[in-house]
């Protein structure tokens, strides 16, 4: 069985935009496409307060988190100074315009991270 699995084509991701890949368990995976058609994948969680990076503005080789504007590098998931932190990176392979992710990483990376809570459930146990 192949270790790589196809999730979408490059054309499915807007230029300087992103798409999400859902998993049965754990946070989603964010796919990003740069101006020169490179594709990167990060765990869809900012190292700061777990904001969904897939919803940020993509520029150069980075994405700005939509919650507090941390800038996260797409290659290594590291926050740009002066902020500190790192988001897990997924390997990406492009084959004939198809985006492939690593099966093993999809099954394991960040899988146990709890979802962020908001709303009434933060007041009482839920």
């Amino acid at each position: 069985m192949s270790k790589w699995i196809a999730v979408c084509s490059v054309a499915d991701i807007p230029v300087l935009g992103s798409r999400r890949v859902a998993r049965e368990k754990g946070p989603q995976v964010a796919l990003f496409r740069t101006a020169d058609d490179r594709v990167f994948a990060l765990l869809d969680r900012c190292p700061h307060k777990a904001g969904p990076l897939s919803q940020g503005i993509v520029f150069g080789n980075a994405v700005a988190c939509p919650l507090h504007n941390w800038t996260i590098a797409l290659e290594d998931g590291c926050a740009r100074e002066p902020d500190e932190g790192r988001t897990p990176v997924f390997q990406v392979k492009l084959e004939d315009g198809v985006v492939l992710l690593d099966r093993g990483e999809l099954d394991t990376v960040g899988i146990d991270l709890p979802p962020v809570k908001a709303g009434p459930c933060t007041r009482v146990a839920c």
Partner: protein
Amino acid sequence: MKKMKLVMIGNGMAGVRTLEELLKIAPELYDITVFGAEPHPNYNRILLSPVLAGEQTLDEIVLNPLSWYEEHGITLHLGKAVTTIDRIRRQVVAADGTEAGYDRLLIATGSTPFLLPVPGKDLAGVIAYRDIADTNAMIEAATKYRHAVVIGGGLLGLEAANGLMLRGMQVTVVHLGDWLMERQLDDQAGELLRKSLQERGLRFRMGASTEALIGDRDGRVMAVRFKGGEEIPADLVVMAAGIRPNTALAESAGLHCQRGIVVTDTLQTVTDPRVYAVGECAAHRGIAYGLVAPLFEQGKVCANHLAQFGIGRYLGSQTSTKLKVTGIDLFSAGDFMGGAGTEEIVMSDPFAGVYKKLVIKDDRLVGACLYGDTVDGSWYFKLLREGRQIGDIRDKLMFGESNIGDVGHQGHNKAAAMADSDEVCGCNGVTKGAVCKAIKEKGLFTLEEVRKHTKASASCGSCTGLVEQLLMFTAGGDYSSAPKKKAICGCTEHSHQEVRDAIFDRHLTRMADVFEQLDWKSPDGCATCRPALNYYLISSWPKEAVDDPQSRFINERSHANIQKDGTYSVIPRMWGGETTADELRRIADAVDKYKIPTVKVTGGQRIDLLGVRKEDLVDVWRDIGMPSGHAYAKALRTVKTCVGSEWCRMGTQDSTQMGKDLERAMWRMYAPHKVKFAVSGCPRNCAEAGIKDVGIIGVDSGWEMYVAGNGGIKTEVAHFLVKLRTAEEVMEYTGAFMQLYRKEGWYLERTVHYVSRVGLDHVKRRILDDAEGRQALWAELQFALDGEPDPWFEFAKAQVDVRQFEPVATVPAMVPDAAPAIVQA
């Protein structure tokens, strides 16, 4: 390619800052060699006074440790003064014979103290106050001797005197002028300062002229003699009678010098374009600056040129002054003396030790001199730099900007009085101690740097004044000579105004054209400039420029407000705050169906559904069947109304209908920032129209229109603009004001800040005095809004990327020994 050689003479703040700027933009262009006459790496000369006063140590004021030079491959010659520049062979020679050839030469030799040409000036114990060696000499003298005399009651002299006094010496300041710091203060403030310093124990000899310094048998100074023969004891004499640009070396190399090495707007010497000069040694348009902020501006431009970009120009700076004597607050800027053709506003309370003078000329603030209460110094300085007309705020000018409205830092407006643990920035939870620590440890000088490193003042900005004060007394006195124009972001040198003008004048309709024509430094901008450019393009060229969803913040891309857990909030439009049973029923059904956890009534008379999953947004919009409330956008949000004459026994006008009409006319209107209206039906003003971007208040004879109010970070009461008779007029004037703001406001500038920048008089000229112009503006807005889609329903027309709402794929967990099945959306 072989690297070019850059030699820098002088290892001080201006020069090294230039290198830092250069390394940022062209790290590989040069082999760099630095000669420094002092045996120290670059340190913060401004902080010598706190070192002398025992408040900081020498180690703490080093800006670039030796490792910094190593890291950047810079050859550093410390303790080697350059004695010769050979411009023909293009090399420099130091006193010890060390040679270095150059392709580009940067002279940053700073300044030298002016020594009074009096007999005895060469005696032991007579020193200037300029560098670490002088400071150490003073510290040492203070341990052995008792009497110190400081000649010169200027900034430097007083700081030296204060430091020596704190180290236990009895200090007399000898000053030729009639009052202290006459280049920075007027007579009244100077006198207050003298009294205050006298109370601390300093002695003064005002109007005294030094005739000679008398030595003892060992050749050490023992007394100072004044004209007239009187002598006072002196074991240490500090000459602080002024500084001169250090141009001896440049002159010997045949470079044109006149009160400094004469440089152009690109910091090149007028004599030899291979040779640059920055800092206190350089004379730009006849001025040799002695404060750090202008020198850093010079460094930035110079670096840009050395890097062969060649787009920056240094156009001179305005400067302000602050004395670094702990516990004494004074600030001055511009033409603080006043005189013919100027008017003065003065507030004087000698008992409390407070004195403020503002100098006004031709309806503009041209100078300020503050003693005792300097909290508004940075605001005055900003008004002065921008040269904005002040007629409309003249009556409030003296009371400053910060006395009303700013929230988020417990009402503090005097940074000095705060404890280290007090919060400065309520948004990001940054304490005073954290800000001061970062300024000291990271060598920060500008507001931008503090924002970047600490996040203080980086969110809502209401604490900017406090942070500026902290910079003043932590980093040194003169941080605040910010450039007149501020670049949008790191991607460009251009300001908001320049970019917006270029887009309009050159008829640019695509972002790529802006990047190309305005020399953007990054290929596709950043999260700061792209949304601004997108707004400028679509507001300048409606129906021509195409909106770019990827350059919009997520809320405007998904047409809902992102929440902390990644869910969204949905606020449907309720015209004028009125709703119906049908609408409420549909909302209630949607809340049940999509399990929306929170339903909240907003401050703008609407209903907020919080916690909607992104996947459900489109369905929720459809089920509710109400128009977008644009509560997520830089656009017209709510129009708050009271019930008005329809129901209210006090009501004089039908405010609800007026509000609905305004909302229906202007919804879908994107703007530089969010926009809120309110309409009240009588002066009791239940709709709180006094704190809205446009507030309309019905009176018996018509409507009063107020603009540029704000109820947020800065509580600001709206200005009365005009009294109108008919509802049609209210529509026209409101539309015209909005279009003016849309065309002239900078991105993310609320109307309160826009009107404060351009002045209410400007708005009145355009809206009230120019009927044709007003009607044209209103027509322009109607043209721009005509046919604009509702993004909750007309997806294609509003360019809503509908695929964003679902994951592009869902990967099932792996089943052992089975081929994975991918579900593609």
